[in-house]
Structures are given as structure tokens and as C-alpha cells.
Symmetry: C2
Subunit: 121 residues, 2 copies
């Protein structure tokens, strides 16, 4: 019950659903998510820890960068099924096309440009 509640609560937020859809296209680091979602680093970091605690995403540290991807074999069946459910019903969502498009631009940017969001543009 506790595990299911942490899963459903993790999924019950628009920003977190957007994040999962962004991650469905592959691994991303926090600064890339900041760039696409246009929210403060602390806010997104908090969202990531909620998704992580629920077992929905995997985190990997490489130097200063923290990379996130959707959880796969390394989590519970409940979380894997939740991911499949969410993604299959959101992948054609028109409201998320903007995010997907923005992500394309973000992927092309230099790390230089991305870190600009910290130094107040």
C-alpha cells in the first residue's frame, strides 16, 4: 500500500508527468531538464527525488552532472507497469509536443548555454 501510494503520488503532478515523458526519449541531466521545464533547479531536483523514491527513475552521477533515466530492470514490477501505462497514454499528447520540441533544441545546446540558467542568464 505504501509503495503504491508513493507511486500514485509521484505520478499525480503535471511537472513530473512532463519529466517522465522527456526521459522517455533517453537519459538527461538536471540542467537539461531545467532548460526545458523552465523551473528553478531546486524545484526540479525535488521532483527528481520524488520520482526516484517512487522507483520510477534511475540516477547516475558523472562528475558534477547527475543523469536521470526511466527505471527499467532496476525497479519493481509496479513501477515498470506504471511507466508503461503513463507513456502509452501520453506519447501522443499535443500539450507535450512543445516539451519534445524544446528538448530537441536543448540537446543541441552547449553545456555553456545551459549553465546560463544558474548565473541568472
Amino acid at each position: 500500500m505504501k509503495q503504491m501510494l508513493s507511486l500514485t503520488k509521484a505520478l499525480a503532478d503535471e511537472t513530473r508527468l512532463r519529466t517522465l515523458m522527456l526521459l522517455s526519449s533517453g537519459e538527461l541531466c538536471l540542467c537539461q531538464l531545467i532548460d526545458v521545464l523552465e523551473l528553478s533547479p531546486s524545484t526540479i531536483s525535488k521532483h527528481m527525488s520524488i520520482l526516484y523514491d517512487a522507483g520510477l527513475i534511475h540516477r547516475r552521477k558523472e562528475g558534477r552532472w547527475h543523469y536521470y533515466r526511466l527505471a527499467e530492470q532496476d525497479t519493481t514490477p509496479a513501477a515498470r507497469e506504471a511507466l508503461r501505462w503513463v507513456i502509452s497514454h501520453l506519447e501522443d499528447d499535443p500539450a507535450l509536443h512543445r516539451d519534445a520540441k524544446k528538448l530537441c533544441c536543448t540537446r543541441k545546446k552547449d553545456p555553456q548555454e545551459l549553465t546560463a540558467c544558474y548565473s541568472g542568464k
Copy 2:
């Protein structure tokens, strides 16, 4: 996106998950849910409307009684899959055995006894 959020938000509450599991054993009226969940009529009624708006349950009126059951053909694929997901991962949950047991007693009671919860025991 909006539909998915209403689904995930509907599932992100312990009382509503308990309710869905109770309904997985068959149709129930509000007074039976009140008896098992031990919450006020207005609170449970509100929960039911949230589950209904999300497309997770079906409501049927018969005289004064309002009967609820899990949605089936009469809802979206997303809601049907959500129900299957939740139920499959909660059906063996030890924390919910109490509810299931209590429901057995409730089903055996007279309507008389159930309405007692309104008239202040």
C-alpha cells in the same frame, strides 16, 4: 494530459485506493462504504465523485440508494488499465485485509444497522 492527471490524482489518496479495492469485490452503496471506512458521509461522497470524474467508477441510483462499482466497458482504456494495475498490486496487501474482513461483516448487516451511522449510532 488533463485526463491522465485526473486519473493519477484520483489514485493518489489512501482512502480512494481502499475504496477501489472494496469495490473490486463487487457493487456497494455509500452507506456500506461509510460503515467499512469509518469516515463521514460527506467525506466519502466527495471521494466517490473524484473517482467518478476520473472515470474509475460507475454510479447507479436505485431509490434512495446510490450504488458504486468499478468502471468497465463504460470508461476509457486509460482508466481500465489503471484499475487493473492498482488491483493487481494491492490485492495481496496485508493492510487491506482488515477492510476486506470488515466488508464481510457489513454485507451481512441489515440496512437498518447501517443507517445507524447517520442517526448518531
